[in-house]
Symmetry: C2
Subunit: 471 residues, 2 copies
């Protein structure tokens, strides 16, 4: 065996490092740290101990100890992940960053915010707004997810079309390496080619290469005006075709371009208990635009509205105030919950394809769903080609569900790769998609990832058994 | 010795791979491949052979051969680098990508252009424009540099303030690894968290980790209107203070915000042989704004102009047509040449600091210049904190120049790091700054870079002896 168990002595040493109040061994309390938001029981595993450091020095001490004693360490943010990335599948230590939750600095001269990893993304957004700025990272889980988790997964979300994913906003990281060494990559320079781009190697590495303890986030001018458009289409092809048209004919990069399929529209209607406009439409597109001036905003949404109407949009509903916008967004925002009500056990996927291939891939998924007699509502980020195909268990028995799920995922991933796609656009691989990754990723790249992991974490201490197999 | 010489037999095998017309051994012809645009002779070195593959398969064969025979391979684009990154300091094979110069595809549905590495950046921009799109990467060397070199160095340039550096536009790379294996990272998905972000590890790695053979570039809507503003300021502090004001008070991210110091203004006047407006100013700021509509453009440049005038701008000259814009840009664009005329031997640096520290660092550089009695005109990208401090040899003798340069660089880099800065914002490390890197970079990061290099290139075949020392 590569790893050792957490002994009484190790627990005592952890207590010495962080104090008794920050070490959890009570089995009932450990339960909270056994899973993330993946609902299936196979992706839960109890840690042997949870430790909650309060500063970088403590993180370093913990990791040095674990590296010496050969005990696995699983870093954890808010536990809102969707790939079992923060689940301690091999037991060992869960290193929870919940106590490192301070906003350290707002730098008005250089437009940066420096934060610890345990601040929620919503707090970052709120603070930026209070100071007159804008933090553009915006995963759908912003209210609960930690910014450190956003960094670990390179979280996407609704605003990635215009502003990119989390990685675009990160210019510096203080981190603790698997050896326990502390270093700061980057900082407040907005350009930097001094050596390899280690920052963006860390972003999205799911806590397998280092524990981020301080984050330098770029702030932007705050867009003062926004509008939300809901556009029903008869079918998915016309709906998706609108994406490049808005960008090239309209010259506009909207903040969001979201889509929902027929099944999702119906689920939203059921959940919200009201009929939605054009509830029988083949697809909904939701578009958000932001601008610094009102005149620019109006020009933009009129241009977009016209392009939609000229290209198959059945009608354009404009939300130009908070309440009408909220009404439009509701159908999309509550979708995950709406599906959960329909089927408490489900499997939410995160495939990503070139935008123009969304309709083809959705049509293939529909075929797979019919073949296996399973419901797979699809929604997601049309502007990014990111499809949250969600397999519903409903009233299947456990064995049938497990069997069907495996077969459906296999076929769905094959279709995705055949259309130039990838396993995950924003949720990550974690433990959940590790087997699929071994199957679908080019072996050359699997080898590259394993080689980098091994080079930076020779004892494979940090979040082991995630992403790829390393010997 | 780690490496072997290129034997007759190896040359013959190279001929077998690419054909006799694509192998250069004639010493006179090799001369062309001995250096880049760093003018000093210490950064020149003759290759033993130059090979010019025409496709990815040939690149792979060449690298497999070199890896087997333990011969170093230095990949080379157009040779317009400014850090001796493509100079074969250890001899061996120069792998020139000049024959892989095709634009392979313009994808209008997904807004991508797929190109080979030997296409000039200017051709990419031109083709994008012809098709109604915009490629936002724009190093000052666009007319001559290859897009592959832009990728290898993560080239910056004048438009990085708004659009980011080259790395932001790259979504896929076909590459040949140091083992000769071929793989394609990413592609046309605009989001992807399937494994580590290997794409951005490759971008800016200066040809030390792989040879890029195909590049997926993102296209954007073409901004239809632009304006250029020239604003003289009495001193540098007021000039630089304008940067965050434009972004936060104005809510505008301009395309470019460039600066020139007093010495540069004088050099430009001498070179252009005409007096410039406010030629005695302490600093020039040049701002370019782009917009999709004319009304938005006018609103933007008026806002910026007013902010400048309210904050120490002596006057605002607006270039709103091609000829007036060209006139403004001329003073900045020809600066490198103007300095070269003043002093054919010079040392152009590329330090980068947080924007707000530009004035402090420039003041320190002025002190260093006085101390060593050397002229160091400074210009660069104010919006990015990127300072091209340029040491002029003028009529110093060789020994004095060498001695002074070493001391000045040492002090300049110290000042840079003391102000949160880094060695290079866009030119890279190459051979030229390798010693400085060993001295100024956190040893933990040097170790990380070496470990990754060794993991992916165990025989240290690819562009060896650049960036960091690896054992």
């Amino acid at each position: 065996m590569r790893y050792n168990r957490v002994t009484e002595e190790i627990v005592q040493r952890l207590v010495d490092i962080v104090g008794p109040g920050n070490v959890v061994t009570d089995p009932e309390k450990l339960e909270v740290y056994a899973g993330d938001e993946v609902p299936e029981s196979e992706w839960k595993h109890l840690p042997e101990v949870v430790v909650k450091p309060e500063n970088t020095g403590q993180v370093s001490e913990i990791i040095k100890l674990a590296n010496r004693e050969l005990v696995p360490v699983t870093p954890r943010g808010a536990g809102t992940g969707l790939a079992a990335g923060a689940v301690p599948m091999l037991g060992g230590i869960v290193l929870s960053l919940e106590n490192m939750n301070r906003i350290l600095e707002v730098d008005r001269e250089n437009l940066f915010m420096v934060v610890e990893p345990g601040v929620t993304t919503g707090e970052v957004q709120k603070r930026a707004q209070e100071e007159g700025y804008f933090y553009a990272g915006d995963p759908c889980s912003a209210d609960s997810s930690f910014i450190g988790g956003n960094v670990a997964t390179n979280a996407g979300g609704n605003k990635a079309v215009k502003y990119g994913t989390t990685s675009r906003h990160i210019y510096g990281l203080e981190l603790v390496l698997p050896t326990g060494e502390i270093t700061t990559l980057g900082g407040k320079c907005v350009k930097d080619v001094t050596g390899y781009d280690l920052i963006h190697l860390m972003v999205g590495s799911e806590g397998t290469l280092g524990v981020v303890t301080k984050i330098y986030l770029k702030l932007l001018p705050r867009p003062l005006h926004n509008a939300v458009l809901l556009v029903p289409f008869a079918g998915m092809q016309a709906a998706i075709d609108i994406v490049p048209k808005i960008m090239t004919n309209g010259g506009i990069i909207p903040t969001s371009i979201e889509f929902m399929d027929k099944l999702c529209i119906k689920s939203a209607e059921n959940y919200l208990n009201r009929s939605l406009p054009y509830g029988d439409a083949g697809a909904y597109i939701i578009i958000e635009v932001e601008a610094y001036t009102e005149s620019q905003l109006e020009a933009d949404y009129e241009t977009i509205g016209n392009i939609c109407l000229e290209n198959g949009g059945l009608e354009v509903f404009v939300g130009d105030n908070k309440s009408s916008q909220e009404k439009i967004w509701k159908s999309r925002r509550y979708l995950a919950e709406a599906l959960r009500v329909t089927s408490p056990v489900y499997c939410m996927e995160d495939i990503v394809v070139p935008v123009s291939n969304i309709p083809k891939v959705l049509a293939e998924i529909e075929k797979i769903a019919r073949k296996y007699e399973i419901k797979i509502p699809c929604f997601g980020h049309a502007g990014d080609g990111n499809i949250h195909a969600t397999l519903l268990k409903e009233d299947m028995d456990e064995a049938t569900w497990h069997d069907k799920k495996e077969k459906v995922l296999e076929e769905m991933y094959s279709v995705t790769y055949a259309h130039g796609g990838k396993l995950s656009g924003e949720h990550g691989i974690g433990a959940k998609r590790k087997r699929a990754m071994a199957k679908f990723m080019d072996p050359v790249q699997l080898k590259m990832i394993a080689a980098i992991k091994k080079a930076l974490d020779p004892n494979l201490i940090l979040n082991p058994d995630k992403l790829v197999n390393v010997q």
